[in-house]
């Protein structure tokens, strides 16, 4: 357990530091955030044609309300936490990569639900939007990361007690 936490914290610090570099922002974070806005707009258009996405902004053409997907809302930090937790845990590389592939989809999938729900909450009631945006969804995304990690740990072959000791 001690080894897991040490590796987890080191990996997380390193990945988060890397995320903040201009290079990572330009080549990964910003493009990913734009893709996230496009995917969210594409999904919303299935039932609401009055939505447009430009860059990282999701906007209603009907009333002009827009949400801008900023740091903390693009799921990158949550993905980093999951990445560090899976990589730090003792398992084969095959299982780690499989866990990461499925886990990242699960975390980003819920994040898209977050973006879309906030887009509509904001049009309905700004106080509720702020509460959900600043507090509730942050906690739910972390819960999602925890659940994905727990599920992944559960799929691993039984190991000696030293794995969690």
């Amino acid at each position: 357990m001690v080894r897991f936490f040490v590796v987890f914290l080191l990996l997380q610090g390193a990945l988060f530091g890397l995320e903040l570099t201009p290079w990572a922002q330009e080549w990964f974070v910003v493009p990913w955030t734009n893709v996230l806005a496009s995917i969210s707009a594409g999904l919303v258009k299935l039932f609401d044609p009055d939505v447009i996405a430009h860059g990282k902004v999701l906007q209603s053409a009907r009333n002009g309300f827009a949400v801008s997907i900023e740091a903390g809302c693009n799921g990158v930090e949550a993905t980093i936490v999951l990445l560090a937790a899976i990589l730090a845990f003792p398992a084969s590389w095959k299982r780690k990569l499989l866990g990461l592939a499925i886990g990242v989809v699960a975390v980003q999938g819920l994040n898209i639900v977050r973006v879309i729900s906030l887009f509509y909450l904001g049009q309905w009631n700004f106080d509720v939007f702020e509460w959900a945006h600043l507090y509730l969804w942050q906690a739910l995304i972390m819960l999602d990361v925890m659940i994905v990690w727990l599920l992944w740990v559960r799929t691993l072959p039984r190991m000696g007690p030293a794995a969690l000791a």
């Binding site: 357990m1 906690a139 740990v153 559960r154």
Partner: protein, 193 residues
């Protein structure tokens, strides 16, 4: 205790979240008090006379600095520069931790809640102080009064980002995992021999 199924655990966490968020919202003035006190101690130790006092009103923790606000006041009146920080922005992981502790149904949940809260106080203090320092650096009329080196400004920016984007969510998760090792071992189909 029997091994819990994931849907059952998840359902209970969700149910508890409704209550814990409500209690957290109401109890914020009380929960924020130790963080305000510790923030004052940390800033006094780390930055000397930069912070004169730290005041708390409901969820707001306000740093009263020895810096002068930008601009001049009528009649040459003196003013102090205050920097507020919203405690709730850095403590929303607390209701999640409480919900997960209660849903795990391990022995002595109240003791675990108290320990979990106590363990989160330093992390919350880190976030609040980093937010205060970053806000100082963001004020054009204030930065000229500060003596931070470029590397210290970079460090403050990193600490602010870490204290805002990572720590409020990750710290409760780490605390929960540390306090529920046996639960996790059962959950993962292992034994805590």
């Amino acid at each position: 205790m029997a091994t819990r199924s994931l849907p059952s655990f998840l359902l209970q966490v969700t149910a508890w979240l409704l209550l814990t968020f409500f209690v957290w919202w109401l109890a914020t003035p009380l929960l924020a008090w130790p963080v305000a006190v510790l923030s004052h101690i940390v800033t006094r130790l780390g930055f000397g006379d930069l912070v004169q006092s730290v005041e708390q009103s409901a969820e707001m923790i306000t740093f009263v600095t020895s810096l002068r606000p930008p601009g001049t006041l009528p009649g040459g009146a003196k003013a102090v520069f205050e920097v507020p920080a919203n405690y709730r922005l850095f403590s929303f992981g607390l209701p999640l931790l409480a919900a997960m502790i209660l849903a795990a149904r391990e022995p002595r949940p109240l003791r675990r809640l108290a320990i979990g809260y106590a363990l989160l106080i330093p992390a919350q203090t880190f976030s609040v102080v980093a937010d205060f320092l970053k806000n100082l650096l963001s004020e054009p009329g204030i930065t000229s009064q500060l003596t931070f080196q470029p590397w210290q400004r970079e460090l403050i920016t990193f600490c602010y980002q870490f204290g805002t984007l990572i720590l409020p969510t990750v710290a409760p998760a780490i605390v929960w995992v540390l306090m529920h090792r046996r639960f996790l071992e059962r959950f993962a189909g292992r034994r805590a021999d």
